[in-house]
Each structure stands twice: as structure tokens, then as C-alpha cells.
Amino acid sequence: MYRAENVTVTASGRRLVDGASITVRPGRVTVLVGPNGAGKSTLLKAMSGEHRLATGRVTLDGVSIHDMRPLELARRRAVLPQAAEVAFPFTAAEVITAGLMTGEGHDRARILRLLARVDLPGFADRRYDSLSGGERQRVQLARILAQLDAGKPDVPGYLFLDEPTASLDLAHQLTVLNIARAHADAGGGVLAVLHDLNLAAMVADEIVVLAGGRVRAAGPVAEVLTEPVLADAFGIRLRIGVASPGPFILPQNVQAAQ
């Protein structure tokens, strides 16, 4: 279990995240939603160990991640960056191996399989800097999957995805979310920041609504994606429909709350 306990993150005197507690369970996809500036990415970065905490703690199976060495933590959690530039002319396959800090996981067949899984077959020897934004995003996804594969396969690994669908077309948004789903189904944990509430409703087991740095609601999709919660968090009134398998939100039903 990967938990944030009463986490506060400050930057130049402002509380970006204010006393947030959330739990990412193995076997579940947990999705962070909220308006711009709600602190979603900041909370994800605090949980990944990248941001320092002003107060609170982040634990992995009860151990504070700040007591773990970076390499130890990297065996258990991998983070998909939002927009990653690579400094030198690496190929797609080299980008994947560059993220592997041990001798594990370098074999070519495995890397080709991972590239095929993110729908980039035949891209292994293409230059990373010649790829489109969406293709780079998927190479990075393959890289973090390789990182977790090379880590400790016997205990659950956690995928942290910060807006993984941002530069992707519809088909590849589904590719990425299906990979997240499959990771959870195989026993791992997923924490994702998503903007699109419908994608969130589709992939999430649990949704955490963040606004003003605070957790406004958390729980299963059907309990959290309700009109009062969203009106409170986003400041707009939405009409939410329900159709199998879950709730959906139509933008044409949006009205200003005030």
C-alpha cells in the first residue's frame, strides 16, 4: 500500500497541497481529478519523492519513502513524466535502457515486446528526438514499465502517471489506460492524474477529487462523481448521466454554478 498521510507541500509560502491523505492500493487504479491549480501534480510529485513535504509523510508498505534510497524506491514505483526532453540523440530503445539502473531488464526481446505493447512496433532504433509528442509519451511509458519489470516482480509495483493521455489521440489514450488497467489487474497499483472526467470514470476504481490543495472527496467512482461534489470542486454545475458501466459527464450540460 502506498499512502500519503496528512501531506502538506508549500512553495514560496503558498500551500499547494494542504493536509492531503490518500491511499493507493495494489490491484486498484486511483485517479486524481480536480480543477487547474488544485495540486494534483504536486501531490503526485510529493508521493513520488520528487517534492519535499512541509508536513506529513509518504509511506510504502508502512516505510517512509524518505528513508529509502532512490534505487530501492525505483524498484517499487515508476513515474511517467509529463513532457520529457532527452539531452542526447538516444534511440527509443536506448531511452528505455537509460532508465534501468541495474543490469536487469536490458535484453532486446523484452524491450521490443514493451514497445509493441505501447503500439510502437519497429520503433526501437528510431531516434527519440525525431518522434512526435505522443510517440515520445509512449516510449516513456514503455521505459517505466521496463523499470518496474526490472525491479521486484514478486511484490506490487506502483505506476505514477501524470496526465498520461495529454498528448495522445483517442485510440492511444485507450492504449495507455488499458495498460494502467492491466497493471492493476496483475496486482500492481496505479496513481494517475487525469483531466478528462469521462476517462477517469472509465478507468478508475477509486477517484480522489482535489481542489485548493485539499481532498474534497475520495472513494469509488459512483460515490464520488456526483453533482454536488463536482460543483464544489470545479465551481460549475454538471449534469451526470449513468449508463453501463458507470457515470458519464456531457459537456453540453455544463452551466456556471453561480
Partner: protein, 361 residues
């Protein structure tokens, strides 16, 4: 690391399609050829076969068969010179590769963190004011007073810059760059003041030092530079995986399991010590640290696991080659080594810039 070890470590999934083994072999052949050339070529040319015979007799301790003149030229004059050249070339090139990796920029080089300006200031201060200090050193160390001063100057300047760039336990690469520029400028101003105070002969000595030369190479200088340069090479090889991850970004490297702060600090200190020792032995030799990692990357690709040994081999080859040119062009006089590397390196650097501009658009 042995050649086979390097080839095995780099013959991984990621590097397929890159001629890593062939490239490393090529650079090793170039380095050996340049080394033998450095021993054979000069006002008194010795056939490579005779060079090997002299070396063989020396290593095995056999009764020397060759002429005394050959033995003196090879063992006492050219061998220390070639060893200092190989050490300095390897050290500068690997330091360049390290700095480019840490700054995540292929145009970075060791002078960014102030080694050369700091070393120059200390060197000129020693030339101008050092005579009384010399008396304090034991006689065998007196000939290396200037290199020791240069080494200390480069190391101290870099450590001050690294300290300035650290805030809250984190080293900002941007602040490191600007602190390096500012302190480098300050050291150059100090150097200017020293030159103003210096006598004509002192100015000449210092000017010659800033242009770089292997002319004063001795066994003593080789022995003093070797531990620092070899330490730099070993540390760079150890940091290679972390530098590859750093190419993905600082946050990404941390997520992948790299202790980024420790990597940056280790790299800066190793570069300061290694380049400080190289500059102390040869004077300022520009462009090797900048250009050699580039050339190596063109052949073996950007992965630091291959780039570090490739830069070490090619750096030695390039510096020894430049020294052979420096000795041949105006023979029997010697051109300053830094002049030769700049004559070749500067146009190459410009070409790289223009090519990059065409690529970036």
C-alpha cells in the same frame, strides 16, 4: 575496465545498430598509434621497431641492445612526455563527457566550472610571487611548484563555484553555470592584475603556460598527475549509468533510482581534481574536452557506458597527435600545444554549432 568488459557491458539491447565494439577498437588503435608515434617522431626519428625494442628491454630489464642515444631519447625524453600527454588528453576528454552529461548539454566543457581560470590565476600568482615559496618545498618538489599551485587554484575555484550553486541541499545546474561564468571572469581579472605586476620574463613564462605544452613533461609530473586523472576515469566509469538516466531529466533520473545530488557533486569534484592535475602538467589546452566526446558520440552513440572509455582513448590519441603536429610544423622549434588544438578544434566547434542550428531550425 578491460576492452572485452566494456564491449560486453555495451553490447546491450539499447545500443544495437551502433558500432560500439568497432568504435572502441578503432579509438584504441588510434591511441596506441599516437603513443608509438609520440615515441618515434621528432628531430631524431626512431623506427617504431626500434622503439618497441627499447621499451621491451626496459620492461624486461634485459641488457640494452640499442644505442644509448635511442634509449635516452625514448625513455627519458619522449616516454614521460607521451604518458603526460595521454593522461592529460584522457582526463580532459572524459571530464568534458562528464560535464556535458551533468549539464545535459553537448556544448558544455570543464572550463564552465572554473578549473582553467582558477588554475591560471594560481599559476600566474606563483610565477610572480612564488619564488620565496619555492624555498619552503623539499628540493624534488621545487620543479613542480607551478603545477601544484595550478592544481590547487583549479580545485579551490571549482569547489567555491559548486558551493555557491548549492541551495537547500540541491545543486542548481543553471546557478552552477552562472557562478562558473562569474568566478571565471573574476579569476581572469585577477590574472590580468598579476600580468600587470609581472616582469617581462615572468609574463613570457606565464603566457607560454597558458598556451599549453608537453615540453616540460617529466616522470615527476606524470606521477603527480596520474592518480587524479586515473581517479577521474574510474569515477566517470562508475557514474556512466547515472549519466544516461540524467539525460532523461533530473526528476526522471531520480525516479529511475539515481541519487542525483550525489552524482552531480561527485562529477564536479572529480572533474576539478582530474582536469586540475592535467592542466597543471600541460598548461591550458583548449577544445579537447569539448570536441573529443562529440567525435566519440558520432561513432559509438550517446550512451555514457561506451562514451567514457571511448573519450578516454580518443582524448589520448588527439592530444598526442596534436603534440606530434606541434613538434613537426615548425621543427626544430615547437608550437604551443594549445595553439594546435585551438587551430583544429575551433573550426570544428563552429561547424558543430552551425550543423546544430540547421538541425534545430
Amino acid at each position: 575496465m578491460s576492452m572485452e568488459g566494456v564491449a560486453m557491458a555495451t553490447a546491450e539491447a539499447g545500443t544495437r545498430g551502433r558500432p560500439v565494439t568497432a568504435g572502441l577498437t578503432l579509438f584504441a588503435v588510434l591511441a596506441v598509434a599516437a603513443f608509438v608515434g609520440a615515441l618515434a617522431i621528432g628531430p631524431f626519428t626512431i623506427a617504431p621497431g626500434r622503439v618497441f625494442a627499447v621499451l621491451w628491454d626496459w620492461i624486461t630489464g634485459a641488457q640494452p641492445a640499442g644505442s644509448l642515444r635511442e634509449r635516452i631519447v625514448v625513455l627519458d625524453v619522449r616516454l614521460p612526455r607521451a604518458i603526460v600527454g595521454a593522461l592529460a588528453g584522457s582526463g580532459m576528454a572524459v571530464a568534458g563527457a562528464l560535464m556535458q552529461g551533468v549539464f545535459r548539454n553537448p556544448l558544455a566543457d570543464p572550463s564552465l566550472v572554473g578549473v582553467a581560470p582558477g588554475a591560471a590565476l594560481a599559476a600566474v600568482a606563483f610565477v610572480v610571487f612564488g619564488a620565496p615559496l619555492l624555498a619552503l618545498l623539499p628540493p624534488p618538489l621545487q620543479v613542480v611548484g607551478l603545477p601544484l599551485a595550478a592544481f590547487a587554484g583549479g580545485l579551490v575555484t571549482t569547489l567555491v563555484i559548486a558551493r555557491l550553486a548549492e541551495h537547500d541541499g540541491r545543486t542548481s545546474v543553471a546557478t552552477l553555470l552562472f557562478a562558473g561564468l562569474a568566478l571565471g571572469a573574476l579569476a581572469s581579472a585577477g590574472t590580468g592584475v598579476m600580468v600587470f605586476l609581472a616582469s617581462e620574463q615572468q609574463t613570457r613564462d606565464f603566457l607560454f603556460w597558458t598556451l599549453g605544452s608537453l615540453g616540460g613533461a617529466t616522470w615527476m609530473k606524470a606521477a603527480l598527475a596520474a592518480p587524479f586523472v586515473l581517479g577521474l576515469l574510474a569515477i566517470a566509469a562508475g557514474l556512466a549509468r547515472g549519466l544516461d538516466a540524467l539525460a532523461l531529466g533530473e526528476a526522471e533520473a531520480f525516479h529511475a533510482g539515481v541519487s542525483v545530488e550525489r552524482l552531480k557533486r561527485t562529477a564536479v569534484v572529480a572533474v576539478a581534481a582530474g582536469v586540475g592535475a592535467a592542466v597543471a602538467a600541460t598548461g591550458v589546452v583548449g577544445f579537447v574536452g569539448l570536441v573529443v566526446p562529440h567525435l566519440a558520440r558520432l561513432v559509438i552513440g550517446p550512451s555514457h557506458r561506451a562514451l567514457v572509455p571511448a573519450s578516454a582513448l580518443l582524448g589520448a590519441a588527439v592530444l598526442l597527435g596534436a603534440d606530434i603536429l606541434a613538434r613537426m610544423i615548425a621543427a626544430p622549434a615547437e608550437l604551443p600545444l594549445g595553439v594546435v588544438t585551438a587551430l583544429v578544434g575551433a573550426p570544428f566547434f563552429l561547424w558543430l554549432l552551425l550543423k546544430r542550428r540547421a538541425f534545430v531550425g
